[in-house]
């Protein structure tokens, strides 16, 4: 009897129902990606243009005008030192976004390299690297960052270092997993048998596939970094005052939450919007780079 399967083509399984044509859509037709990019670009623009847009100096105190409600002069009112909340919000974006975006670089690079080494070479290298990863995983992110920032002393560079020490492990885990899968693919086996040396196989054949996973993850990692920075700011361990920063703004505002509640709400909303934009980009990238993973 001739056997062939037609039914499977028509089974609307989520995976197969996604026609190939959709995979080839150009990036600008990916709604999540575009929406995310628009949101993030607006936030970045606001941060970059803060000196132009901000109506007041964000750290200039004016105790005569402290704790005012929204008005024509101060759209979002003033804080307890009479500083303009809107200006602080705009300048805060500069700090939080800059650190968030920059802090992701070192862990991305270090984690990707270590993960690729562990996954590609395996053996004792893998065992050692993964045990170190396990150790770092045992510490909750916030605990380790808080402890490290304490140990390293206040300031921006401590934050970078603390984040780097903590968040490389996620990249390492992701990349290692991807590399192990990729290594078993036929084309990589063929490249190895064909006499390409390890660096070339890693760089040319495994790299592009694996990197896309790391990049997608980096989007949520930036969100996480911003979370860390504002949390440190809230706890009073982050950027030193009087520099405007969203987390410390929320902490300052909590005192007056019964009356001037928007002062605590608005900086948080700014974080949420930024996070939403980055998450949308991450979703869009997942769609674009590896549609078969999408569920």
């Amino acid at each position: 009897m001739t056997t062939f399967s037609l039914t499977h083509r028509f089974r609307p399984s989520r995976r197969e129902a996604r026609p190939a044509a959709r995979r080839l859509r150009p990036w600008y037709q990916n709604r999540s990606l575009v929406a995310g990019l628009v949101i993030v670009c607006i936030m970045v623009l606001l941060a970059v243009l803060a000196p132009v847009l901000a109506p007041y100096n964000p750290i200039k105190q004016n105790l005569n005008e402290a704790l005012q409600g929204p008005s024509g002069a101060h759209w979002l009112g003033t804080d307890k030192l009479g500083r303009d909340v809107l200006s602080r919000l705009l300048y805060g974006a500069r700090v939080d976004l800059r650190i968030g975006f920059l802090a992701v670089i070192i862990p991305f690079v270090v984690g990707t390299i270590l993960g690729a080494i562990a996954g590609y070479f395996g053996g004792w290298l893998d065992i050692i690297i993964m045990r170190i990863v396990d150790v770092f995983y045992a510490f909750p992110l916030f605990l380790l960052v808080i402890a490290l920032v304490f140990v390293l002393g206040p300031g921006e560079s401590s934050i970078y270092l603390a984040i780097a020490l903590v968040s490389w492990v996620s990249y390492c885990k992701i990349v290692r997993g991807e590399v192990i899968v990729a290594r078993q693919q036929e084309y990589v086996q063929a490249a190895r048998l064909g006499g390409l040396n390890n660096a070339r196989v890693l760089g040319r054949h495994i790299g592009p596939n694996v990197i896309s996973q790391a990049i997608t993850y980096a989007m949520s990692d930036i969100v996480m970094d911003i979370m860390v920075i504002v949390t440190l700011g809230y706890l009073g361990l982050g950027i030193t005052p009087p520099t405007a920063e969203w987390g410390s703004m929320i902490a300052d505002a909590q005192e007056f939450i019964t009356t001037l509640w928007w002062m605590a709400v608005v900086p948080g909303v700014a974080v949420v919007i930024t996070g939403l934009g980055l998450s949308l980009i991450g979703d869009g990238l997942t769609d674009l780079l590896s549609p078969e993973r999408r569920k």
């Binding site: 909750p140 380790l144 019964t258 509640w261 605590a264 996070g275 998450s279």
Partner: protein
């Protein structure tokens, strides 16, 4: 059933190297301090005599390996040093504070399940429907919300605004505790639920497409009986490991949330100790929390094994 838990001692044994690494990290925290740790720990009150005394007390003038050995042997005797602030063994402090934090963690896990399961069922039962899309938006927004800010918002609405819940504190009786910890636990549950909802929704969709759900339907199961009898348990299995991984995040969150709601747990202890430059206390909290997370990992495996009869970790370990 119990014979399938034979892997637990072995699994605990495997956790030993990790725990060992944890002690290394906690120990070396001191040595990351730029300059003379003793000097920077003492901060403003540093006089040469005090610095010398502390250096001696911390054994900082001994070789590092010897210091670490000293640290480990003290640890083995349950001695993590004395709190600079309270002049009592830090472990005593940790044991006082830990129950508060553990209760908060457990409370949040319960609330998380109460939030995540119905929402993911709602989404998975009609994929592509409006309510599915609505639920799928939750992670996008939820993952971008700083935990402490969620806490402040809940405080604003349900404590300050409506007065339904206390603004902070812990209370005296167990009922009090549950009452006082409701908003903090809810905060943590909200912040972790997006991840859980996402994974539960995906695994529920998988299960709903499975042959055995078709079998269950052919037996006349549907609606609630189908979800309760067949879908939920199978869908929760993959989510268990996600919960396990995220418990670390949850515990980290507790530390911060305790500050928002003024709860006398390990988190407040950590922050207080940091501002007091009370180094042994910071180390003790870090060590305790890390060991707790490692044990949660073991617990995750146990739950996993109990939920899924196919899993036999005993065999996998021996292999």
């Amino acid at each position: 059933m119990l014979s399938r838990l034979k892997f637990v001692p072995m699994r605990l044994l495997q956790a030993v190297p990790v725990a060992f690494g944890v002690t290394l990290v906690v120990f070396f925290m001191v040595h990351l301090i730029p300059g003379n740790p003793a000097e920077s720990i003492l901060g403003a009150q540093a006089t040469p005599a005090k610095v010398a005394a502390l250096t001696d007390q911390m054994g900082l003038n001994q070789p590092v390996v010897q210091q670490y050995w000293h640290f480990l042997s003290n640890l083995a005797h349950g001695n993590l040093g004395e709190s600079y602030t309270y002049q009592v063994p830090v472990l005593t402090l940790v044991w006082q504070r830990a129950p508060v934090t553990l209760l908060l963690v457990a409370y949040s896990v319960v609330l998380m399940l109460i939030i995540s399961i119905p929402l993911s069922m709602l989404a998975a039962s009609r994929p592509g429907h409006v309510r599915d899309h609505a639920v799928r938006v939750i992670p996008l927004v939820g993952l971008g919300m700083p935990q402490f800010w969620v806490g402040v918002m809940l405080l604003l609405v349900f404590a300050v605004g409506t007065g339904w819940f206390p603004v902070g504190g812990y209370g005296d009786t167990m009922m009090d505790h549950l009452w006082y910890l409701f908003l903090p636990a809810l905060t943590l549950a909200i912040s972790i639920s997006p991840v859980i909802i996402r994974s539960l929704r995906a695994s529920m969709l998988n299960v709903l497409e499975s042959d055995y759900v078709a079998t269950a339907r052919s037996k006349g199961a549907g609606g609630r009986s189908l979800f309760a009898g067949h879908v939920l348990r199978n869908a929760i299995i993959p989510a268990v490991s996600i919960v396990g991984v995220n418990l670390g995040y949850l515990v980290g969150g507790t530390l911060v949330i305790e500050k928002v709601f003024a709860i006398p747990g390990l988190g407040s202890m950590l922050i207080e100790s940091i501002f007091a430059r009370d180094f042994p206390s910071v180390q003790a909290v870090a060590l305790f929390v890390a060991v707790f997370v490692v044990l949660v990992g073991v617990l995750t495996d146990v739950v996993y094994t109990l939920l899924d009869p196919r899993v036999d970790l005993t065999q996998r370990m021996n292999a």
